[in-house]
Amino acid sequence: MNPHRRSPWIIAATLLTFFFLYAPIVVLIFFSFNASRISPLFTGFITRFGPFQLVNGNVVQSPCGPFHWFCDLSKNTEVLSAGRNTLIVAFTATIVSTIIGTMAALALQRYNFRLRTFSQISLYIPIVIPEIVMGIGILVLFSQLFTVLNSALHLTGDAQLTFGLGTVILAHISFMIPFVALVVQARLQGLDKSFEEAAMDLGANEWTTFRRVTFPMIVPGVLSGALLAFTLSIDDFIITFFTNGPGSTTLPIYVYGLLRRVITPQLNALSTVWILIVLIVVFFIQRVESHQA
């Protein structure tokens, strides 16, 4: 029997599901090259000669050719600042949560201590409760805390503690730690302890053993944990929604706000750029993981 034998039904179902997965993405990209201002009506590709804009009553040709909406997008300061916020949050939270999460994985996998079971369970909680519960929990915590602190320390005006990038970063770190810890733990579980034991027998202390033996072996796990954390952070909507404040809008929040008011092909241009970035990131994640195998 051919182990790779495929039934035509399975192939048909697979193709249909892939169509379902990709049709919306194709639609997004397709319409980012749409000539019409009113995005949903496709009125033809932007050609070399179009689209035509009205500037002071004169018909002017777009200087960017088919990339008209991308040019428009690059001039949108709100998008640029939201993009900057997204990256600041993602980088900071990824670095911190990767360090803390890796430490936790080491502790849980290589050490015995009193709060071990409690720690392991607490790391599973954010995965099995809906994100919104954690989001509003943090919202309630900070709003109560800020009210108390602001009145106790007599803070007024700009000095007042308020929601902003800081709260978003703290919230992101908290929901990313479990993911990093579990990914690194899975990697540690698959590792032969005898290498570390051999290092210790040969007189290396704990720190040297970690630096020279354990860490080099778990680097791929740490890297894929960090990449997972980074993508989760960039993608996060719900927790950011409840913890952001004025001036700390991230891209998903910006897009959501825009969608409730107006729809423009700029949004499709943004989607196309985003999908391109995802393609590159996923490509790298796969590279890291195939090195691991």
């Binding site: 803390i100 999460g101 730690i177």
Partner: protein
């Protein structure tokens, strides 16, 4: 001091876990407890909290209402129970549809030649990591009155000279279901794939050698062995469906209110964090109970982290 630490394995472990515990206690356990405390309180006029101990918010969720016909002071209003029930049903439907869609695809990738597997996994990961909100937007473009489906249907109707009135698909419960199924499909595909990929070929061969039909092999070998993947996928789909409010907000409009929308509105528009807290705790309890019975029946699995 440092010397003692060097010799004490337990202290080293504790030291490594402390930062995690600070975050988990400070940003998860304390907030949850605070949510519980707030849910017993009453809102003040500015959306703040007056701390009391009353179960009013929970009684209100169960249907007690003061918003009644003239002449009646209290009555039964099932609106919140309906919202909770609707969310549960939607979570169930989404999960079932996702299993039906994901299984053949996961099976296909698991049985294909290993050199092609990464390519197909890549094709699953790209939609998964494309931003959630952007993917909802894609469905808005597809389903709206002048959207992709209606344009295509209109064009086809023009071709065969049939009068055509655009279908209203956006802002219906169906649109929300399609959106949810789409958003969480990759989270079902990956764990099912992981468990199917672990099944050794000789197992299939043995089943075939012993005279089992392909259907019987599937029923007695493949399906039971892929159960851990389906359990993990169900948790990864059902839990977020219960708590998501963007899909119903953008694709369901005012038509489809889920418990996520209810909570969000209490915190933002209605300015009643106490009722919102109660609703969110009730939802969490419902999710945990559903997941608990489900995993107790089918077993917990390690394939949760995809």
């Amino acid at each position: 001091m440092l010397r003692r630490l060097r010799e004490n394995k337990s202290a080293q472990g504790t030291l490594l876990i402390v930062p995690t515990l600070i975050f988990m206690i400070g940003m998860l356990i304390i907030p949850l407890m605070l949510t519980l405390v707030v849910s017993f309180g009453h809102p003040d006029a500015n959306g703040g909290v007056i701390y009391t101990f009353s179960l009013d918010n929970y009684i209100r969720l169960l249907g007690y209402s003061t918003d009644c016909p003239i002449g009646v002071s209290t009555c039964f209003n099932s609106v919140y129970l309906e919202i909770l029930w609707r969310s549960l049903v939607l979570g169930f439907n989404t999960t079932v549809l996702d299993i039906l869609l994901a299984y053949p695809l996961a099976y296909f990738i698991a049985r294909i030649h290993p050199k092609w597997r990464n390519t197909f996994l890549f094709l699953v990961l790209v939609p998964m990591w494309t931003n959630f909100v952007i993917r909802v937007y894609a469905w808005m473009m597809i389903l709206r009155q002048q959207g992709v489906i209606n344009s295509l249907l209109g064009w086809f109707a023009g071709l065969v000279h049939v009068p055509f009135t655009p279908l209203s698909m956006l802002y219906t419960p169906g649109a929300v279901l399609v959106g949810m199924v789409y958003e969480f499909l990759p989270f079902m595909i990956l764990p099912i794939y992981t468990s199917l990929e672990k099944i050794d070929n000789p197992l299939y061969e043995a089943a075939a050698d012993l005279g089992a039909s392909p259907f019987r092999t599937f029923l007695r070998v493949t399906l039971p062995l892929s159960m851990p993947g389906m359990v993990a996928g169900t948790i990864l789909v059902f839990v977020p469906v219960m708590g998501t409010f963007i899909v119903s907000d953008l694709l369901g409009g005012a038509q489809v209110i889920l418990v996520g929308n209810l909570i969000q509105r209490q915190f933002l528009d209605a300015r009643d964090p106490t009722f919102g807290s109660a609703a969110s705790l009730v939802m969490m309890a419902m999710t945990i109970i559903a997941t608990y019975f489900y995993t107790r029946k089918f077993g917990f699995s390690e394939e949760l982290v995809v």
